[in-house]
Symmetry: none
């Protein structure tokens, strides 16, 4: 009886996922292929299918099935896997159920409009233009928190969409440890006599040749091109239709080869996670990634810990020198390595090095939390942003366009998203520390361009589980410890003390 119920439930979930995959294909095609005139009707098609998706997920039929299984869950009658499926579907369902359709529509319309106005405001460097929209969004997100319900801080209700089971208190504790390390350490770097010349990265790189090199790197580190593609788009992204078809995109800059490589390695990290989730879980939470933070841990480990390490480039740099000899023939590996790791406080988050990047995040987290808790006013944002920026980075913000207006997230209603970037860094360092212990010759393998073992380790320890464990449980299961800032701090300290010759 219970087994039959579960089968029926999974079948419903599968139908929902098929529709979700179709919507994902439509999104991917829109970004990568679609001709300009196709835009209006594509938006309507996606809107129609998304509405259908919502209808299926909140139908009476589906609710009835879910409620019955919820009873089985509470009675402790489900296997671990079925428990995960019902528990996580219930979480998502009950959240969606709490948001009235009118509210969902208002939020969608407000953010859709706000994104256009934000783009204009950023272009015109005019925060006042964006202010009324941002006020509306903050009010709506505060309302969302109230509708969803929360403990302690309303921010927890929003964070929960992106990093389930995490809360403000834990983030504040970890971020404050990180800040306590970062600010004085950056000051030390600033005083270092080592001067890095990042101009060695500049040159003229034909796009077709870049594409080939990017494909080579992605393939080498484990991306399965029979189960995915690498294409071009304005903003790089990864989208998995299912584990057998995962698409990544990157952006090419004719003057800067490393720009595309860096972004490809990052997206490949995401894609390896998506390709590594077990196919038999498809359609259920067992076929979904744990959280944005854990997803980001995969992209950041490949992008930074591995992809910006000297041993990684000991393997790839000779090929790069050969393929792009005009630019790199006379540049030493050690100079190339330093150039891709230059630490330089700067205004724009997406261009930041892996160290100062986290200060960008901490700043945004503090601000958005205060906004949602109501302890600061939206109109004061530019002043607050600029003051904090001066304090953390020692830089004066030159304009709101380069400051508080730089990111798309708030205009899109994505409040509670930012902390997952730095959580990803923390998770990645803690995971990698364990992987190094578990894989005897990991460094040697990386030097030889062999990534099979590390990928297998990630598959086995992280990817294949889907949502079976929470992020907290997974970290403890894999590393034997709760999430801590110490591995990331230790990693940064060692790496950059060496580069900047600090005592």
């Amino acid at each position: 009886m219970q087994k039959k119920l579960m089968e029926k439930f999974k079948k419903e979930l599968l139908e929902i996922s098929y529709l979700g995959s179709a919507v994902a294909v439509l999104h991917w095609d829109q970004e990568v292929n679609m001709p300009s005139k196709g835009n209006d009707l594509r938006a309507k098609i996606i809107g129609s299918l998304s509405g259908e998706l919502h209808n299926k997920f909140t139908s009476d039929n589906f609710e009835k099935l879910l409620l019955e299984l919820r009873k089985e869950l509470d009675a402790g009658k489900l296997s671990d896997k079925d428990n995960c499926i019902v528990r996580e579907t219930w979480r998502e369902f009950s959240r969606e159920k709490k948001l009235p359709l009118d509210f969902v529509k208002e939020l969608a319309e407000t953010t859709s409009k706000a994104q256009m106005i934000w783009a204009k405001a950023r272009k015109k460097n005019d925060f006042k233009l964006f202010l009324p929209e941002l006020k509306k969004i903050v009010a709506l997100k505060r309302k969302e928190a109230k509708l969803v319900g929360y403990k302690d801080s309303p921010y927890n209700a929003l964070l929960d969409s992106y990093e389930p089971y995490m809360d403000v208190e834990e983030i504040e504790m970890i971020f404050s440890e990180l800040k306590d390390f970062l600010v004085p350490f950056l000051a030390k770097i600033k005083k270092s006599k080592v001067k890095i010349n990042s101009n060695v990265l500049k040159g003229n790189f034909a796009i077709e040749k870049q594409v080939k090199f990017n494909e080579f790197v992605a393939k080498k580190i484990g991306f399965d091109f029979e189960a995915g593609r690498l294409d071009k788009s304005t903003h790089p992204f990864t989208i998995g239709f299912h584990p057998q078809d995962v698409r990544i995109t990157t952006r090419y800059d004719e003057k800067d080869l490393f720009h595309s490589i860096n972004s490809t390695i990052h997206e490949t990290g995401h894609a390896l996670y998506d390709q590594g989730i077990l196919l038999e879980g498809f359609g259920t939470p067992l076929g979904e990634s744990i959280s944005l933070g854990i997803h980001e841990s995969q992209s950041r480990m490949w992008e930074n810990i591995i992809g910006k390490s000297e041993i990684f480039w000991q393997y790839f740099y000779p090929k790069m020198q050969k393929d792009f000899s005009e630019s790199f023939e006379r540049i030493k590996l050690s100079d190339f390595y330093k150039a891709i790791n230059i630490v330089r406080p700067s205004l724009i988050r997406t261009e930041a090095d892996e160290m100062t990047y986290n200060l960008h995040i901490i700043l945004r987290f503090e601000i958005e939390k205060d906004l949602i808790e109501g302890s600061i006013a939206v109109e004061d944002l530019p002043q607050i942003w600029n003051d904090k920026f001066k304090e953390y980075f020692g830089i004066k913000v030159s304009s709101d366009a380069m400051g508080v207006l730089q990111d798309v997230h708030w205009s899109g209603g994505m409040i509670g998203y930012f902390p997952t970037y730095t959580l990803g860094n923390l998770y990645s360092a803690q995971f990698f520390n364990t992987a190094k212990r578990d894989i005897l010759n990991l460094e040697k393998e990386i030097k030889r361009g062999q990534f099979g073992h590390i990928l297998e380790w990630l598959r086995k320890n992280i990817h294949i589980h889907g949502k079976l464990f929470s992020a907290e449980q997974l970290v403890e299961k894999v590393t034997g410890e709760k999430l801590t800032s110490k591995y990331f701090i230790d990693y940064l300290e060692k790496k950059y003390s060496k580069i900047y010759e600090l005592k």
Copy 2:
């Protein structure tokens, strides 16, 4: 009241069309982009959405609405346009109602998978690999005919999907007139002293340069690249998601530039029809093409009557000589013109000249009709194919890959489709005969690379009407006569008598 009903009905149709467009995007992506491992789940996703489409189209709600409008139609209360919408939707609806959901799903999943297997079988020249899939498909299509119901031959039930209102009897009559002309005329050509050297078309043509030339031609004859794309695929095709996003594909051969150009012009002909259908008709039969035969008349007119005429190449050949000077610099236009029009019985339909092409179609029509009527067995196909081929073309088929496995149609369940190609030839000659009368300087314009008037003529007379008229009505409305083989026969006779210097 009736107006309100109609509005409600159109809204329902629109939602169905959105879903249909999404399925079309999934199909296009499958052919053009999808990595190989994505196939199994893509088949299921397409199957699921197709099932959903069927559900929506055959829901009680939709049926009730349609039945009410059907009453209005019968009472003669509808405008011409609304009449078309209700009449054509009714036709499709009553057909679909007869097909159970399980059947529709099975057919969609079977054909989606079979297409991948067919591609492998063709590559490996292994009919046996494809045999189990084809058996399933033929059985399913025979079942479909039974479910739908038919007069005389079960083949009529399938033909009706592609060429509504047409039947086996009429096709057999027209095809026999054509065969009566073709066979003796081909014999005359064979005896002609004119020997055409088609080797002048061979050379080395870099794919990237070919792509550019193909884009140039497609754009010149009117394809709107802001409302469409041109890509590569194994089997060239055109698919319109809606008039603002129409995708064409072509196949490139490094040794043969004209191969891709010919196929691009053909697909552009289809695409011009799809781009020319009025946007406001989208979602209803007013936004759909009349029939495959009429669709094919557009592609064939551009490909053959225009695109293989001497006046067309008077404009394009000098550019081609310039862009590919190594190959064409010393080849005269008259020799090039003869080479692209060489008449030579050959194995592959898609590479056939415009004369023998029709024998390919007649052969396929006879075979698939016998398959559906059950008078031949699927396992005997290679033998039957090869015997018939010997009889009609006087050629021995060298391999199944070059014989019975060459076309994608059967693997996609498209049985009843082939005759529309030759019907397209017949329609195109009859339409073009009228266009020449209507457009004063048509020949001069084509010589100058001006295609605005002929495109406008096609838009006005054919494209914009959607399904407002049946093929039969349209032909009579535009040309003043019923469909006849005489214009096509006349066209072939004049053109090839000149090329082969026949009396």
